[in-house]
Structure formats: structure tokens, C-alpha cells
Symmetry: D2
Subunit: 286 residues, 4 copies
């Protein structure tokens, strides 16, 4: 049996793909409703994280933030103390590298192997099993769970030691946040100079100077509706994590800092729960 803890938008779809590929699951989530579809298809419900590890040697976690991961692993009903000597824990949550290394150490002390394996991709790729995994940890451990990861993702990259997967995810999100803000400034400037959105979008999107993902954001800008795929306040948080980490490493990243502040100002203006592409609204006149 495979354990899966955290059944939100991403986790529920990832677990379902394991199930579709023939895996038996034991699952836990803070609220039970989210587990509905999985239980219908035969998954076993666990009353606590600890109960998951009593029945599974391989446990996935997909949670919102470090605190939630820590609670599930090391809290009163945490799964880590119950895991056998040969267990593997794969954390797919987006956290910071030093936290991943801390969890790796906690796991190691209990004879549990640990992989940090955050994913690139949102709801649709999660559903289709087309995520990209950035994996930090031991190569042999990765090989053991590779078949499982391949049920959920189309690219599985082994990046390095524990923490490396998380590090790479942080770099990717930095690129994401900066490209979105830069595109917003470019479009705002173009429009103010009298160019139509049509001209701007058709020239930039798909061309050499625009990150390809921007193709999925142009309709939001065009319609002024920023339906949330990735909330602006999380982008702000991820960028804060970047500047925090850079500071710890003795590195100054003024552009990242400026970008964090722009998302911060957008959040202050009440845009935190909209898609992070709503940063565009910062450049619109009152």
C-alpha cells in the first residue's frame, strides 16, 4: 500500500493517477470530503498521519507549507515515528531547501529515506499525469519509487542531494514571477504608447523574448479576469523565500527584491487571492 497525505487540488489528482495505475492507497487529509473520489475507488481512509504509516512503507506528502509538512511528519499523530526502517518518504510540497534538508535529517534519524520532489505544473498537468518532478536525494531511493512518479509525471529529474529538488523549484518560481511582472510592464508601456493588445500579444507571445507560459496568461489580461491558477499571495511568499535564501547565502538580487515588493504592493491593494497575473493591474490607471 502507498500512503498519500494532502489531498488538495494537486494531491487529489496525483493520488488518483496512482490509483488508476493499479496502486492501493491509504490516504489522509485534514478534511475528509476531499478524499471522496479516492475512497469510492477503493482507497483506505486513515484517521491520522500516523495511521497512514502503520499501513504503508512509501508515503507521499503534498501540503501547502513547511509548517503543515512538519505537523504531519512530526506532530503528535505524525507519521514519521511510525514508519518502519525501510520506509521512503517523498515530499512533493513546495518548501525551502533548508527545510527539506531538516526533514531529511529527521527522517534519517529514524531510518527512513527521504526525497524532496516538488513538482512544476498546475491542475491540468496533475490530472493528466504530466507533471515535472525535481528530485533531491539518493539515486537508488529514487529508482525504487520511479515507477510511481512516472504514473504522475512525464519528466522526472534527479537534481542532486536532498534539498536540490526544492532549490530548483525555487529558481523556477523566481523566473515565473519575474517574467509575469516584466510582461505586465511591457504590455502596459505598449498600450500607453498606443499599441493594441492584439499587436502586443501576437508579437511577443510565442516569440523569442517571452517565456512560453505567458501564452496562458494573455486572456486573463485581455479580459481583466484573473481566475486563480496560482494565487498572487503565494507568488509573493515564494519570492520572499527567494530573497530570504539569497540573503542567507550572502547574495543580493535587486530585481528579485523589486519583484517581491511589486507583488507585495498588489497584495496590499487586495489582489492577493487572484491569479498572480493580476500583477498587471498594478500598472493600470485609477
Amino acid at each position: 500500500m502507498i500512503g498519500f497525505i494532502g489531498l488538495g487540488i494537486m494531491g487529489s489528482r496525483m493520488a488518483r493517477n496512482l490509483q488508476k495505475n493499479g496502486q492501493s492507497l491509504v490516504v489522509y487529509n485534514r478534511t475528509k470530503e476531499k478524499a471522496g473520489e479516492l475512497l469510492e475507488h477503493g482507497a483506505v481512509w486513515a484517521g491520522s498521519p500516523a495511521e497512514v504509516s502503520r499501513q504503508a512503507d512509501i508515503v507521499f506528502t503534498m501540503l501547502a507549507e513547511p509548517e503543515a509538512v512538519k505537523q504531519a511528519a512530526l506532530g503528535e499523530q505524525g507519521f514519521l515515528k511510525e514508519m518502519g526502517n525501510h520506509g521512503i518518504w517523498i515530499d512533493c510540497s513546495t518548501v525551502n531547501p533548508s527545510f527539506s534538508r531538516e526533514m531529511a535529517a529527521e527522517a534519517g534519524q529514524r531510518g527512513v529515506r527521504f526525497l524532496d520532489a516538488p513538482v512544476a505544473g498546475t491542475k491540468i498537468p496533475a490530472e493528466k499525469g504530466e507533471l515535472m518532478f525535481f528530485v533531491g536525494g539518493n539515486q537508488d531511493d529514487l529508482e525504487q519509487v520511479m515507477p510511481l512518479l512516472e504514473m504522475m509525471g512525464k519528466v522526472i529529474r534527479h537534481v542532486g542531494e536532498n534539498g536540490a529538488g526544492t532549490s530548483l523549484k525555487m529558481v523556477v518560481n523566481l523566473m515565473l514571477g519575474q517574467a509575469m511582472a516584466a510582461f505586465s510592464e511591457a504590455v502596459a508601456l505598449g498600450e500607453r504608447m498606443g499599441l493594441s493588445r492584439d499587436v502586443l500579444f501576437s508579437t511577443l507571445i510565442g516569440g523569442p523574448v517571452a517565456a512560453p507560459f505567458l501564452a496562458s496568461k494573455k486572456d486573463k489580461i485581455d479580459q481583466g479576469r484573473f481566475d486563480t491558477e496560482f494565487p498572487l499571495q503565494w507568488m509573493n511568499k515564494d519570492l520572499h523565500l527567494v530573497t530570504e535564501t539569497a540573503y542567507e547565502l550572502g547574495l543580493s538580487l535587486p530585481l528579485a527584491g523589486m519583484t517581491e515588493d511589486l507583488y507585495g504592493m498588489a497584495k496590499q491593494q487586495g489582489l492577493g487571492r487572484e491569479d498572480f497575473s493580476a500583477i498587471y493591474r498594478l500598472y493600470q490607471k485609477d
Copy 2:
């Protein structure tokens, strides 16, 4: 006969493509040596811009900056006063929109039609006739010279009225400059966190979060050799033009401003003549 003024890296290659496609040329450049190949293949040398327009109804200019364009067109030996009533002047230089409109007005007063037609692309696309033209001006005028532009470029976009071509070029360069600086910060952070360049490049380049042109910059970063395709000091200048224009339009673009300052600091550190990708060096430890 077609006139061509400005035979630098770009202009000489563009003119050569006209010639290869059967056009007779009359050419002028500040220094005659640059015209060598064209003259060998039958181009006529003109002693001044004015002499160009005495022999040609269609004149291209490809010059370094607004001042040079103004001098060629309106200086003592300027070509504009000598152009006939039915002439067309196509300015391919990268300038600011208000300058393009000013030139359009100067041309109009003399019965000359004007197109601003800056290009996207560097040395190689210029040589292969694969540039992209952003054209501002009258549609009929553009159609008249379309066959000529197609000898030099693979995409010819009519963007709008005079100044619109130049405006779009400015937006493209803003995207270019920001993406390069953002990538530099992302790579610097990744390396400091212990990721290898291999992992960083192979993950980011070609993926959804990186502008495709960055593929052509990774070797420079990797080898620490920033052979100049587009000098850093010109990028600094173009970004300054952006913030200047934004200010005139009552728009604040903090990320563009920060990016301008970063290239400015790199210039201050003596990197002005290297490729603009040398901005990466700003993030390396002493």
C-alpha cells in the same frame, strides 16, 4: 535605384540582400571602407546623403541613434531636401517613437512619405534575410516597398501609424533586457544554492519559464566570455529610453527602472562594450 545610408554590421548585410535580389543601389556611409563588398558588386558610391537622394526615390537608413538619423536627413548635406515629391524614406534605425513621428512630419512637409521600420534580429538573421520588421506608417506606402522588405526579412508586420513600429521595438527590447537580468539572478541563486549550471540550463532553457532567446546566451555565461552581439551599454541606453518614455506618459515601471540601473551599474564596472548578457557578472563574488 534604391538608396541605402548606414552600412554597419546590420546595414551592410541588409543592403547586400537587396543587391542579391537584383536591386541597383546607391550607397553612403560615414566611412567608405564599409561599402567595399557592395561597391564590388556594382553599387554606386554617393559622396553625401544628399547625393543618394538625387539618384534614388526610395531611401533606407540604418543608423546608430536619433542624432545620426537627423544629421543624415536634415543636415547640411541631408538627403531629405533633395528627395522628389514621390519619394519614400524607410528608417530601420532603433529610435524613440516621438523621434519617428518628428521625422515623419519633416518628411511630410517635403512631400516625402515615411515609414519607421526597425528590425528584430542580429547579425546572422540580417545576413540570411531573416529579420523581422515592425512597420509604422501608411499601409499603401508599406505595400509599395513590401517586395524590398521581403528581400531582407522573413516577417513584415504592419503595426500602425508612424511611430508604432518604433514603439513595438522598444517593448521588445524591454522584454529582452529584463529576461536577461532575471535569468542572471536565477542562475546566480541556483549556483549559490549548490545546483550545477548543467542542471539549471537544461531545466530552464527550452522550458516554459525562460524566454527562448536565452538559449543563445547560456554558453557565454558558461564560458565567462561575453562576445558582443548586442553591447550592454546599448541595452542600458534602450532601457533608459523606456523609462524616459514611460515618464513622459505618466507611467511608473519600477522593474524597468531597476533593470536600467543594473545595466548602468554593470557599465560603471567596465562591462559596457561586452554583450548585454555580461549583466550576469554583476552577481559573481569578487
Copy 3:
């Protein structure tokens, strides 16, 4: 007779002090009403700048911006062409150094001596004759008009050649704009941490870390009423002049650039006509 052109808030008060000290004036302003008090006390009204210089060898200008100065001096009814060979023109307007030098050259060609003499101080010091003058130009010329300047100011500093007075004014306004924005951030942070304004103001104002002028801004912040002494949009303009000048000199000033952008964002939010201390409102929650 002394000529005075530009009778706004500052100019009218400065001219009045000349008058109180026994000088006969010939005055011009775009709108005649502003001259009321001066005319009552015996000043002669001139129908144009040119008419001023027909009656006066010494001409002061105190105008809003370079364009207005240029128009008054060199426009169709400009005063400069009518000034005699021994005339002195003292420009008290806040302009940029290169403009001051350009005016000095224009004056010189006509045998007129030129001083750039911008002032530090607002309405009240202007009224009391307690302004500070920063003077660029020839020392002998300055000495000739020193008695006049002393009627309007309490400190007259000879800074250097033409343009130097204007340069120093620019530095002072940069300090002013940055200190106001920095104070706004510090107060906003303090309040958000739970400190009262009373504690913040009483600790900072008058202490070693706050510029003394901030004493005059604390009531505006406290009452949330930003009655205009120096409009925010002018501060934005002056800071733009700073970054523009820095760029021309090959100098990057990221903090000045950031500060310009902050005033720009405040202007975008409709605060342009309020006092520049309204920058504080940028840090208040919606």
C-alpha cells in the same frame, strides 16, 4: 529700474521685498492679477518680457520650468534680444544644469551676463526675505547684484560657474525627496508594529536620524491632510531630472530611481497635486 518676470507664489514675494527695500520695479507676468500688490506700491507694468528689458538692465526670472524660461527670454517677445550690452539676467527658476549653461551661452552671445540663482525655501521664507540662494556664474557679476539678493535672502552662496547653482539645487531636492519617502516608510513600519505616532514623531523628529525639515511635515501625516507647499508631481519631475542627469553622466543611482518611481506611483494614484509628503499615503492599507 529692476525687471522681474514671473510673479507666482515665490516671485511675487521676492519682488515685493525688492520694492520694500527701495527698488523701482518693472514687472511682467502671464496673468496681470498676480501683479496687483506690486503695482499698488508703484511697480510699472510691462506688456511683454521684451518691454521689461527696454526699461531695466537687471532682470530676474522666477518661472515654473525650462520651457517657460526659454519662452520669456527667447520667444517672439523675449527680453533677451532687447537687453543692453551691460545687462545682467538672474534666473531663480529651478531648472537643470545643462539648461542653465545653454541660457548662459545665449545671453553671452548678446553681451548679457547670466547668473543661475535658484532658491531653497518656500512661501514663508520668501515673504520674510530669508531664502537661500545657490549662485552659479561670475563672481564679479554676483557682487554687483549682491545687495539685491540680500534683500530677498539671508544666505547667498556662490557655488561656481554657470550651472553650478542649479546643480546644487538638484542635489538638495534629491535629499528632500528621499528623506520624505524614507520617513514615510519608517513611520508606516513603526505604526504597523504597534507604535503610536506620538512616540514615533517625538523620537525621530529633532533627533539625529531625521532631516530637520521633516518637523514641518509631521502634522500633515498626522491629520491626513496634505495641503500643498511643494506639489508631489513637481517632486516626481525633479527626481526624474536627477535620474536623467545621472544617466547622462554615466552614474547609476538606484535609490534615486526607486524614489522617483514611488512618487510616480503616488501620482498615478491621483496624489500629484497634493504636497509631496502625501507619498506617505502609498503605505496605507486600502
Copy 4:
């Protein structure tokens, strides 16, 4: 007996002033040499923090950072567990507000009263007993130790509850760091425009737009020698604390962020151990 833990540049001078005013001291420092003068004048040496609290009901701490404070208070030989029910702990270290509140809670659980009482002022004021104390905590507790604080400082401000003293210190350091960087940019601009340092310093220093403390920095800039009073890397750290705290409070402070990055870049260039006024060197040409 009064306990004093932390005998660095500041602490040793503060403790000496208590002694001069007739107080008997029991002292501890990581390295004993620093205690030399105090021991000569009768202070008792304690082998550990715990030993201090066995002999004293009132304990002062003056340490470099939160971790050091925590260690002294709660470490294996920590003083907190040994303090009697009626003890008072006064922490004069510069830390962050949430840390002060955490220490207050730890103390409270053991029946010990806590005051956060960071100081403004450097070596000389410490020696002269002219520091300024910002005190957070209970008013009665403050009154009890007021005579002691008055032996070391000339101004004792009760700011509010625990954490408020620390909050105010953070605001003061933000102002300090921004004013120094702003002054550096202003002087660099002035010089590049051709003004002499003499003119710049004499106009700005002591005038309305410059923070008074800058008077003590001008000689460092002038001589290009940045003898350390307050190390640049600590300023970088304090500003990082500011942006971290602002982020936690949902507040964006772009100017503070930019300033942090500038000190960070200076640190990267090897200026971390010089005085924080060495930020000026960031604006000097190579």
C-alpha cells in the same frame, strides 16, 4: 548586586558607568579579558550566566544577536532558570520585536520580569553615560530600574509593552541606513556634476535636508577611510530584519528593500567590515 552579561565595546562601558555610580557588579563575558577594568574596580567574575543570577536579582544583557541572548538566558548554563521570583532582566541588545516578546514570555513563565531596552548611541555616548534607551515593558518595572538606566543614559523613553522598545530601535536604524545611502547618492551626483565636496558638505550638513548624524560621516567620505563605528554588514542585517518584519506584517517597503540590497551589494564587494558609510564607495567609478 547587579548582574551584567556581555562586555563588548558597548557593554563594558555601560557596566563601568554603573560601577562608577556605586553599584556592585557580578559580570560574565564569553572571553574574560574584556572584564579586566571592571574586575580591577571590584566587580565579581561569574563563571557562567547561571552564576550571575545566583548573585544578582537584576541582570542586564548586551549581546550581539538573538541567538547569543537566547543562549545566555536559556542555554545549559542559562541565567533565567536560576533567577528568583522577583528578578528583573533588562535586555539592551538589538534584536527583533517578536524575539523580545518571546523572551518576555520565557521570563514571565519563571516569575521574572522583562524589559527590552535597546540603546541608541555608539562608543562615545556609552562611555559618557549619554545613551538613549528605548524601553518596552511594564511601567512599574521600569521605574524600579530607572536609577540604573540613568547612570548609563541621558534619555530613558518608555515606549510601550514588551517589544515596543525593540520596534522603535528598528525604525531608528532604518532611518539611519536610508539617510546614509541617500546622502551617498546625493554627494556622488553632486561631484559628478562638478561641485566640490566642500560646497556639498557645507550646504547639506547642518541644513534642513540632511539628518544631523551625517556630520559625523563626512570626514570618512572625504578621506576615503571608513573606520568602523557601525559595521556595514550589521546595517545590512538590520535592514534585512526590517524587510523581514515588514513582510510578516503584510507591508511593502520598496525603498527599504532597495537600501538593503545596496548594502548587500557593498558587502559582496568586500566592504562588510568597514563602517556603513562605506556604502558611498558603491558610487565611485572603478
